[in-house]
């Protein structure tokens, strides 16, 4: 197991009354593809924002590349963020810029490269995601899958060491799903990226991830390689992996007894 690029220790985070993380320890290994899985609403996106320094933990620490993110001043934090890329759920492309300009955006903001070199770099990144021909299109003209691929090209424009993916597979048709899955794996291997993916698509995640964390109700429930996870003895993990409708997570929202409820007087 390579050393950890992201090290999370005793992380607590609450949004108002609602506790989202209640003591989480996690190590994201360098150069591997790690998946974080869990039911909807377990704060997986929040976790990415904590790692990116957009949110501050209530207790515990998030260390990225040896630096404690929440202790950094904004200059240092911005420097650290240049070493991370992030792919948002719907791409979050800048709607007033073309595909080309979207990918060029981080280059223009952070470097003073000549226009020719920017053009070459952008075309290389777009080629990597297979959209070199779509450079003149505006984001509104792209399908959801294409928008995510453009966003991926943008996320790797500055050659970051880590890329975070927020629900990369949600709402994709089978073909774009297949494209995204293979793209994620290929880029991780080819660029030596530390990839961190948040998802609740079990099969896709297990098929490409090197390491998996399963979180639920603010705790890490299980972690290990996909193969180890499949052998897990936890009934909760088995229900989650196989998508059974009833189990430790009941089908019914907590309610009084059905019979008694039906027979009760109307209020």
């Amino acid at each position: 197991m390579p050393e950890a690029w992201v090290r999370i220790r005793g992380l607590h985070y609450a949004r108002g009354e609602q506790v989202i993380f209640d003591g989480i320890d996690m190590d994201i290994p360098r150069g591997r593809l790690t998946a974080i899985m869990g039911p909807s609403g377990t704060g997986k996106t929040t976790l990415l924002r904590l790692i990116g320094g957009q949110l501050r933990p209530d207790a515990g620490s998030v260390e990225v590349a040896g630096q404690n993110v929440s202790a950094l001043r904004s200059k240092a934090l911005y420097r650290l963020r240049q070493r991370m890329g992030m792919l948002f759920q719907n791409g979050a492309l800048l709607t007033d810029l073309s595909v080309f300009e979207n990918v060029a955006f981080p280059l223009r903001e952070h470097t003073r490269l000549p226009e020719r070199m920017i053009r070459d770099l952008v075309l290389m990144k777009l080629h990597a995601v297979g959209l070199r021909g779509a450079r003149e299109l505006m984001p509104a003209q792209l399908s959801g899958g294409m928008a995510r691929r453009v966003a991926l090209a943008r996320a790797i424009a500055l050659d970051p060491e880590m890329v975070m993916f927020d629900e990369p597979f949600t709402g994709q048709d089978p073909i774009s799903l297949g494209v995204l899955v293979s793209l994620l794996r290929r880029l991780t291997d080819a660029l030596g990226l530390t990839s961190l993916m948040v998802s609740h698509d079990v099969q896709e995640s297990l098929s490409i991830a090197d390491y998996v964390y399963v979180i639920s109700e603010g705790q890490v429930v299980e972690h290990g390689t996909p193969a180890a996870l499949r052998r897990s003895t936890s009934p909760w993990v088995q229900q989650f992996l196989q998508g059974q409708s009833d189990g430790p997570v009941p089908f019914h929202y907590p309610a009084p007894d059905y019979r008694a409820d039906l027979l009760a007087e109307a209020p």
Binding site: M84, G85, M86, A92, T95, F105, P106, E109, R154
Partner: protein, 260 residues
């Protein structure tokens, strides 16, 4: 009674908090102004979006307001046999008050609401978050050029409003009502002062441009990131910006013309 007091207290606290947030926001945005100098293209785009696209409505409104002023002024002045003063009435009303104020109200409706909606949608679609994660400060990259663009565009719009209005008044007065052309202009020139009237009008419009754009970008940035939140923020921009313009106009008028 206690419930009422509680609500009142919470409301006051909420407003105070918003005011504070708005000013801190402004401070951060102003911090981005020096960085705009080498990248004036960004500001140019915003002058286009808020200035050029508001040009037509401002010019047409100015024309009609000037024409109405001439017509109304004529009806009053003709009783005193003082129709030569029509030029003074039209130009002073436009340059001192209607130019800056009406242009600012139109600006709030046309450009302000668009700014709020644009920034609110950028927030709702995570574009602002994405920028932050790309180590780009959206306050500097997105908000600052818009604020500066508004501050530059507004005085130009107000000047165009006044100028077109005076021309409209001229056509009605001289063309339709038969006021003497020479008297129309010469009386105007005798009574309208470059510093007292025109410079103060320009100062007013700069202040209005700043306040309207500030409210618009803040409402957008502070909007609840849903479609409902953005539409509410857009409405708030128009209401708050219009009220701010009218209230500030009173204060500025009292400061500028009060001690005569």
């Amino acid at each position: 009674m206690t419930a009422f007091l509680q609500r009142l207290g919470a409301g006051t606290l909420g407003i105070t908090e918003r005011v504070g947030r708005g000013h801190l926001f402004l401070l951060h945005v102003l911090g981005g102004f020096p960085g705009l100098l080498p990248r004036f293209g960004l500001v140019m785009k915003q002058i286009y979006a808020s200035g050029v696209l508001s040009l037509l409505i401002v010019a047409v409104s100015g024309l009609f307001v000037g024409m109405v002023l001439a017509l109304q002024g004529y009806n009053t002045l003709v009783d005193f046999g003082a129709t030569e003063s029509l030029g003074v009435v039209v130009s002073l009303s436009l340059v001192r008050e209607l130019g800056p104020v009406v242009a600012a109200l139109l600006f709030a409706g046309r450009a302000g609401s668009a700014l709020t909606a644009e920034i609110g949608l950028m927030k709702a679609t995570e574009q602002l978050s994405a920028m932050e994660m790309m180590a780009v400060n959206p306050l500097h990259r997105v908000v600052a050029p818009r604020l500066l663009g508004g501050i530059i565009a507004m005085p130009l719009l107000a000047a165009i409003f006044s100028a077109v209005g005076i021309l409209g008044g001229y056509f009605v007065a001289v063309g339709l009502l038969g006021v003497d052309e020479g008297a129309f202009w010469s009386q105007m020139q005798a009574k309208v002062d470059l510093y007292e009237d025109i410079a103060n009008g320009v100062i007013k419009s700069v202040v209005f441009g700043f306040v309207v754009t500030w409210i618009a970008v803040f409402e957008g940035y502070d909007a609840v990131p849903t479609s409902e939140g953005v539409s509410r923020a857009t409405t708030r921009t128009v209401v708050h910006a219009s009220l701010a313009v009218l209230g500030l106009d009173f204060i500025l008028t009292a400061l500028m013309f009060g001690d005569e």
